[in-house]
Structure formats: C-alpha cells, structure tokens
Symmetry: C2
Subunit: 395 residues, 2 copies
Amino acid sequence: METYDIFLDLAIIIAGAKFLALVARKFHAPQVVGMIAAGLIIGPSCFGIVRQTAFLSNMAEIGVVLLMFSAGLETNLRDLVKTGPKAVAIACSGVFIPLIAGAIYFFCFYGFAPVGSDSFLEGIFVGTIMTATSVSITVQTLKELGKINSLVGTTIVSAAIIDDIIGIIVLTVVIGFKSGNADVGKTFINICLFFAFSIIVGYILYKGFRYIEKKWPHTRRIPIMGLTLCFVMAYVAEAVFGIADITGAYFAGIILCNTRASEYIDEKMNISSYMLFGPVFFASIGLKTNITAINSSILLFSVGFIIVALLGKIIGCGLVGRMCGFKGNDKYKIGVGMMTRGEVALIVAQKGLAAGMVDSVYFASVILLIVVSSVATPILLKLLFSKDAEAEAAA
Amino acid sequence: METYDIFLDLAIIIAGAKFLALVARKFHAPQVVGMIAAGLIIGPSCFGIVRQTAFLSNMAEIGVVLLMFSAGLETNLRDLVKTGPKAVAIACSGVFIPLIAGAIYFFCFYGFAPVGSDSFLEGIFVGTIMTATSVSITVQTLKELGKINSLVGTTIVSAAIIDDIIGIIVLTVVIGFKSGNADVGKTFINICLFFAFSIIVGYILYKGFRYIEKKWPHTRRIPIMGLTLCFVMAYVAEAVFGIADITGAYFAGIILCNTRASEYIDEKMNISSYMLFGPVFFASIGLKTNITAINSSILLFSVGFIIVALLGKIIGCGLVGRMCGFKGNDKYKIGVGMMTRGEVALIVAQKGLAAGMVDSVYFASVILLIVVSSVATPILLKLLFSKDAEAEAAA
C-alpha cells in the first residue's frame, strides 16, 4: 500500500459519511446512523471500496477517544456527583441482568448443562458478551440532540463508564473460572488505583489549568495542553491500569470540565472531530462488519441473542433507573441509551475465544447485535426526546 | 505495538513541539524551528523516546498535505498569475544551478570522471539530489510571519511547486541515462495532463462551490467538501499522474482560493493543523533523522555539500529573482525561501540508490542538509522580513 492511498480512503470516508449523515437528517434520523451506514456501504458488506487498515483503525481510535474527551468536557460536575450513586446502581443492574438473561437464553437454545462443565461456562460467557455497553454512539446522539449535559445524559454516560469497569471485573472473574487463575483482586486494586490517580492528578492539573487559563486566555497552548492531557490519560488508563483508553479520555474531560477554558477546548476539539476523526470512527464500525458471512442457522440464534441483549439492558437499566427516580420517558431513555454494543463486545468475544471458552460462531451474532443496536439506539433516543419536547410544548 | 501506544507518542510530540515552539518564539526564532528541534530531541538523535512508525509517518503526510492545501487557499490568484512566468524562471535556475554546482563539487572532491562513466553519472546524480526544494518549512514560516500571500510569498510557493515538477523531469532524465530507458516524454505528457485536468476539474468545482456556499453558507459541509477535494487531488496527483501529493493539495487550495468560503475552510483546517497534524509533521522531520550515525569523513564531504546546495539555491533563485524585478532584500528572501530541503531530497537519493547510481553514504549528507536548511531557513527569513519592517518603520 502506497502512502497516497490513505488520501483516497479518507476522502471516500469523509465524503460518504457526510453525505449519508445529511440524508439521515433529511429523514429525521440522527446523523451518526448515516455515518455507520456509509461504512457498511463502502466496506466489505457491500461495495468493498475501502478496507479497514491499521492506519484507519488507529484514526478511529483517536476518534472515539476525542469523542469521550468531549463528553467529559461537556459534563456538569455537580450533576455527575449527584447522579454518581444512581449511575452505579444502573450500571450494576445493566451488567448482571443481561449476563443472567444471556446465559439462560443459551441454555434454552442448547439445553441446560451441569454447573462447572465446559458447556455451562460457554453459556455464562455468552451472557458476559452481552454486558459491555458501548457508549460512543449514544454520546454522539446526545450531543446531536444537545442533551449530553442533561441529567439523563450525564447519568447514561457515567453509568456506561461504570458499566465498562464492572464489565472488566466480570470478564476477569469468568475467564478465571476457566483457567482457575482469577486475578480479580489485582484487577479490582488496579481500578481503585486508577480512580485515586485520577483524583489526585486531576486536582493538581485542575489548579494548574486555572492558573494557565487566567495568565494566557484563549491561546493555542490551552487546547494543545488539553489534548495532551486527553492522550496521556487514555494511554495511562490502558497501559498502566488495564482500563479502556476511552475511560481515561473521559476522565481527562471531567478534570477540565469545570475550568473556564473547557468550552474553548471543546470547540477546537469538535472541529477535528467532525471534520475527520468522527466520520472515520463511525464509518469504521461499518467497515469492520461483513454481514455477507452470516448464514440462516446463525441468523436464527442471533435473532434471539439480539432481543435478549437489547431487552436485558432496557429492562436492567430502565427498571433501576425508575427506582432511582427517573420517571416517564426518562427511564426508557436510560435503558435505550445503555443498550448499544460496539467493539468492546467483540473484544470480549475475542478474549473468550482466546481462552477457549466460546466458539467463533458467536462473532456473527455479536456483529449483528452491534449493527442493530447502533442503528436502533440513535433513532429510538431521538424519538423519545422529541416526544418529551412535544409534550412540553403542548403543556 | 498496542493501539494505545499511539496516544503516548502523540502526547509527547504535541506537548514537546508546542513547548519548544514557545521557547523558539521567546528567542525570536520561528516556531517551526522549535517543532523540528522537538523531533530531534525525542527521536533517535538524542533521547529516542519516540520512534518513527508507519502511523506517525502517515499522520505527518496528512500534516504536510493540509499545510500545502492551506497555502493554496491563502493564495492570491491574481498575484499567482502575475508571478507565474517569474516563478518558472526562478524555478528553472533553482534546479539547474544546484544540479551543475553539485556535480562540479563532486568532481572537485573525488576527481573528474570521463563523460558517460558510472562515476560521471554518480556526480550528476549528487547534483540531482540538490535540486529538490521542500517548501513546507518556508510555507509555515511565511504563514507565521503573515507573508504567505505577499508577492514574495506567492512567488516562492509557486516557484517551489514548479521546481518540484522540473525536478521530476530531471530525475527521470538522469535515471534514464543509466537504464537507457528514459521515459521523459511520458513524464512530460503526464505533467501536462495533470495541469489540464486541474484546470478543467478546478473550473467545474469552482462553479459548484460558488453555488453551494451561496445556498448553505458557513455550514459544516463546506470545510468537509474542501477537505475531500484536498485529499482527492493529493491522491490523483500522485497515483494517476506521478506528481507529488502536496502539489495536488496545493492545486486543490488554488481551486478554492477565490471562493468566498476559502477563509472559512482555511480557518477550520488550521485548527486541525496546529493542534495535531502540523506538530506531528515538523517533529517527524527530526524523528526521521539520526545525526549520531555521522562520522568525520562523511562530515567533511557534507560540509561542502551543504554549502554548495544552499548557495546553489540562493544564487540560482536570487539572481533570477533580481532579474525579474525583486529588489533589495526581496531577492534574498526568494533565494533563502527556496533553499530548504526535505524528504523529497531523501526520496531522490533513495531512487538513485535503487537505480544503482549512488552510494548510501550520501544519505548522511542529505540528512545534514535537511537539518541545517530546516533550521537556517526560518531564522534567516524572519531576519530578512524584520529588517524590511524596521526600514519601513524608519522611513
């Protein structure tokens, strides 16, 4: 591959993503749906013009990290603290209900297996695959709707982050069952250390930033330092503490969200995001997917798998959301906002495959789940928010 | 290498480049010198913290393409047409004088060889290596000084572009001498076709853009379409016509420079450039360089090589610049602006190595030439422009 090939790939992706995003908007669907569809159309599922390369997947990773950084920057810290306990409750329920429901579905489909047998562990693992929420599409939709810093928005984003963290613990435990070597203690300590690290470093940097933004307001160094912090936190989270890079980037945003420069940084970030990295990230979800490889028997299993996975999150998160005081459509928003699955589900499936716990046949189901949830979540979320807006306008 | 490693690399590059750029500014040197120095310091020449990867070199390529697109956008089309013939004259002289001077230097150093012998061709090729101006550092410096759309600025940029094109023809001819298979005609036709293609496509797109910017002014689709055009032209130039991608990107900028949206597009582009792609590009010049591999005998040859290469351009371009009516310091600005060498010189050397015309030992000289000219050009240009500003203020 020659260097100049990247320019053709990028041109096709950004033009296709923007065009289909505008088409999606024309039909009152969120633009992110159009960008994912662009990836499906130009990717191996349809025309196969653009292939996923190492370079594009790195660009996509920068895209999702910038997106989560921006979500952190737009967070209302007071709301975050207020929703913290609720988010933990929603995340727990959103992990365990799909986990149990997924395992039960597996046993219903293939017959119950004795506790501790390989087939039993396989069922548990199929449930584990269902636990990982991928918040990026929800975040993008909430940003489009201007609801990212609403109470519901903050709750969903923080619940999804906590969901990720509980998901890591569950994955470690379940793989530990197989290998008899569960390093749950170490994982848990790492997570606590990351939180402590973020709070201490965050407080020092927050004070430093306050000083800098007062001394040199609205200079280029401010967003550059913000971006540096974002990248460093993304790296440290994953390389040092074994937590997803997007969690680190979100924390970087939280650290800066109460500084006066946060809006300025966010504005500059958003331009790089919407011009290049965002379209590449969302299109690459479609690019990574090859739906032509799916046959009818896999499809049958997948239909149930998808229903259980989506309902598991809607019920699991919505119910606890309601118990936490989210009334009316808000509880559904939380359930729907938490139901998207993304590459994390594929990574979990990959880890299960590597540990010899599940067959590669489930990859097709996971891919279908990603496609269906990626397209359904933004549409449903927009519907729920616009219904409330209508009701408010009528009142 | 894990995906998250890219975040550490990027964080070190953008923080280091910005910090040293500010230090450079403190000492009244252009910021680009600081960014290149950052690459030297974090790269293999000094601490070796960051290594040049395929990903970083792709990011750098995007960086230089965006830079040239921006230079095109900021061009004054009327000035370009006016300076066109002068730029051609300057470029011709700037190619042939270093070519001849370089060959003569080689023969002085190693003794004259009979015409047509391998050693004779080696001398000619050493001269050929000296022909390629790399305009990116000059463009960045002119942008910093706010002189990119001055008459001198436009002349330098268009002369450097033409220089590139004449350089390709010379390279084809010289390599053709060796292989006896010079496809000069094809190269020349390709270049003419690219010009014709740019003018026709450019005119149609210009009309299209005028319509779009009137219908949807200041919407996100405008810069996205501009960026798409930039990437497509960069790709087409290199993949279809065999011309450098940066030339295509510059033409894309020229196509749009007379639309009303050009400033809006440029503003959005510049943010991505200064936040991420620009620092990566300039730091990667330093990253690619390992000055520790240079010994004393190479150094001796290199000192003369550098002097001849720099003076060849200053005299070659400055003299013709003066004949074209650039008086006072302006002729020196043109000479100095054209003397920077960059990766193109390395690519030429690489092609010569592949064709069996030169030894790899000259790589060290080329690298030293790149470092010296990259650091000297911005400093000298700034000095020349500030002298004129002082003289104006005094008058």
